[in-house]
Amino acid sequence: MFKYIIKKIIGMIPMLIIITFLIYLLLEMTPGDAVSRMMDPEAIARLSEQELTAIRELYGLNDPFIIRYFKWLFQIMQGNFGTSITSGVPVSTIIGRALPATIELAIAALFISTFLGSVLGVLGAIRKGTMTDNLLTFAGMIGVSIPQFFFGMVCILIFSLNLEWLPVGGRTDPSVVNFFDRIQYLVLPSLVLGITMTAGVMRYARSSMLDTMNKEYIRTARSKGIPEWRVNLVHGFRVSLTPVIVLVGFRLPTLIAGSVVIESIFQWPGIGNTFSSAIRASNYNLVMMIALIFVFMVLFASTFVDIITALLDPRVKLEK
């Protein structure tokens, strides 16, 4: 088992190198001076032409591309992500400030979508072919077809503007300190993100459950004379739930893409919002670093899922 984990982690390394290389390539392609990505713009303004050339020499900006890439990679590994060209704040500080809000939103949305999706999906599978199932399938179809931001707009209009139950934005308000004050800001965005993700989970859970209910051991369970709810829940649900839960890791890309959109609508001070405003401001260093972090998260999550699956199910072949 230990060997398997090590192997998986080592297997990620070439992928990471390719991706960092690609991102560096994109970064080089963007307009702007490399010095400006590393230093505070005000500091640059104070420098003379000679000093700038000296700095270029010092940082090796005249080196060949490949060498510059490795130098950059080395900086990244040391935790130096450079600075934001618009504010001069180090990128790591900006990300560090925005990350908690995004994680808060993501966890809430994941929880909502996993819970609702698996319960509704299994319900649909048990009642396959009935009115309940058809309604759920139809609702799920609406769920995957409505643009997330449109759904968000409708929710804002109804719950914030007309009913005035929940605030729209303002999570950044300094008076909002404790958790319970914050929760009211979290409700609407996490529900919108969670519900739009529910449809996918529901579909997956339904087919997983249908698959399980066709298995032979379900017939064995029935042949024991145990009640039908026990057959469904203890034998069917339990078995079909494992892949649904494990797949949380694979939903991370959807979640990230969703958070960019949702954070923008609800003015949520998270990474997604930072990302889209950085793009609008052509703040490329920040854009690339956030993208790098997103890709890292996705890669680590999928490796993590592989490992968890192997741990949960001893039948998974360890040697591939």
Binding site: R219, K224, G225, I226
Partner: protein
Amino acid sequence: MSDTIITVKNLNTYFYTNQRCNRALNGVSLEIKRGKTLCVVGESGCGKSVTASSIMQLLPKLCRIEQGEIIYHSEDRGDIAIQDLERNGKVMRSLRGKDIAMIFQDPMTALNPVYTIGWQISEMIRAHEKISKKEARLRAIDLLKSMGIPNPEKRVDEYPHQFSGGMRQRAMIAMAMSCNPKVLIADEPTTALDVTVQAQIFKLMDELKENYNTAIMLITHDMGVVCELADDVVVMYMGNIIESGSAQELLGNPQHPYTQALLKSIPMLGKGANQNLNPIKGSTPDPLNRTKGCQFAPRCDKRTEKCDEIMPEEQLVGKTHMVRCNLFCSDMKGVN
């Protein structure tokens, strides 16, 4: 108390998949007797398993018993008409496992992979008896021991994938026997197993019959098994019973051309590789597109014009020996 424990009379079971109606069983009648083994033989798709599933009411959703009756003659509750019971209702569930237990074909897939063997056996016991988890676990260990599983105290907490195929089938039988059922239905219990393991499993089942007076309905397509274990035999073809009787009468003197062909197609051990096998010509017909008369007629050596027209009635040719073939219908006797 009569000898018979389950009577099946004129059973018709139809499947409705893909918007079409497949008449899987067309009037099957048989009797399962206490302490006896009834073997049901026939090719794949002839309706053996459907008969078993009908008795247990374990049919798929798009499938139903159209007509006929299945009567369970219980000791304490009188006759119970199974076909009228609600599929997963309370009465049916009280019969399943407690009175009629079933063993499935493939022990690899018939056990739930995420629960331990002991848990799965205990679940069965606790579904029918009010005992604590601890007692149920002890019962499970005893059962595994009696099925010849070594080191049962440890094995009881293991998962199905840690068992070998033969062991899993033993565990399956242990589970089926856990509530001392009156009837054990075994649906090709050894098809997925090695030949050596097969013999052990059958010996186990024979012992159960002797020791507990359990009635066994054994579904198989292995004529060798039939010769060894059966007290009574039923031969099925395309949803009909075409020949039935005591093992002695039927195997000693098979009358239906299909049974004869079936017995001829078995290779004999010791005769070598050059022995003359007689496979039955043709293949199983499409069940959705049945012929009008005798179902076996298109593949039969002795078919007559009448065979294409009429499905023959049941004819008694011995004390218990019944055959459905036009060769034996009264007005056809001359032809024979």
